[in-house]
Symmetry: C2
Subunit: 131 residues, 2 copies
DNA sequence: ATTGGTGCAAATGCTTTGCATAAAG
DNA sequence: CTTTATGCAAAGCATTTGCACCAAT
């Protein structure tokens, strides 16, 4: 994997953001430093780097993918309303890998806890909408 | 929610299949019984029923969504190569909801263990490709 | 010099939607 | 009868890809 300007800046900005941005959100930020960059380059690099384990790709209920520059193992909460993602703390030592009993022949590569809920700002919106 | 023929048969076939089918796989199966059904109807009903908690929508690394007619809480393994999904057994009592310590203000609706790995048939393919 | 990466625009593919018609309650 | 669901085709939208050009090693 060649070290290009684009790749470095994409990684740098993804690590700086703590918001688990979507590809196009990250593209907007990176564009400020590299005005001629293409969204395709952002997608290609996010894909390559997540395959390489440098970053993490997060799924969210069929919405746009989100990316996480923090590749230490940790759990997330997904807002089922707006798609926002937060990190969460869980009990130490309760790794999903240890909890699995029968993997149905699958070679387990990783496991994690995943939560779904409603984020604070969507809870506010729900209250407003109720009136 | 009105009880239509389409809705009943979609649910029936989804419950019968234990393969966590994609919308179009299910469409193919349902079409044998209802030749004039539209894929849009399948999508609409899967969406409605998963909102209502009758069935479950499963995400899989940015691939096509898969659906599960078994709505009892349980964990899945996702094949990172082909997208196949299997149910897995985990230790009793280790619910993700209990493990969470700080939910960052999110109102947790559900939590579960999620694994990624390589399914048996893709492991075979990997062996073949190595030669 | 050679390989791999980029930008652009077009294509892809899953999913959703508008609308006229049909079925359910 | 009134409302909700369906079928069809077209649109939407995030993501991927072909290709000619450029940059890194």
């Amino acid at each position: 994997m060649r070290i290009t300007n684009q790749r470095e800046i994409i990684l740098e900005e993804l690590r700086r953001l703590r918001t688990h941005p979507t590809a196009d959100e990250l593209y907007e930020v990176v564009k400020r430093r590299l005005p001629r960059i293409s969204i395709a380059t952002v997608y290609r690099n996010l894909e390559r780097m997540s395959e390489a384990g440098i970053i993490h790709k997060l799924e969210n209920g069929g919405r746009q993918k989100r990316f996480d520059g923090d590749n230490r193992p940790h759990s997330h909460v997904f807002c089922i309303r707006c798609g926002r993602i937060s990190d969460v703390r869980t009990v130490e030592g309760a790794s999903a890998r240890d909890l699995i009993l029968d993997s149905k022949g699958f070679q387990i590569i990783e496991g994690g806890l995943q939560f779904e809920g409603v984020c604070p700002s969507c809870q506010d919106n729900e209250k407003l909408e109720a009136n």
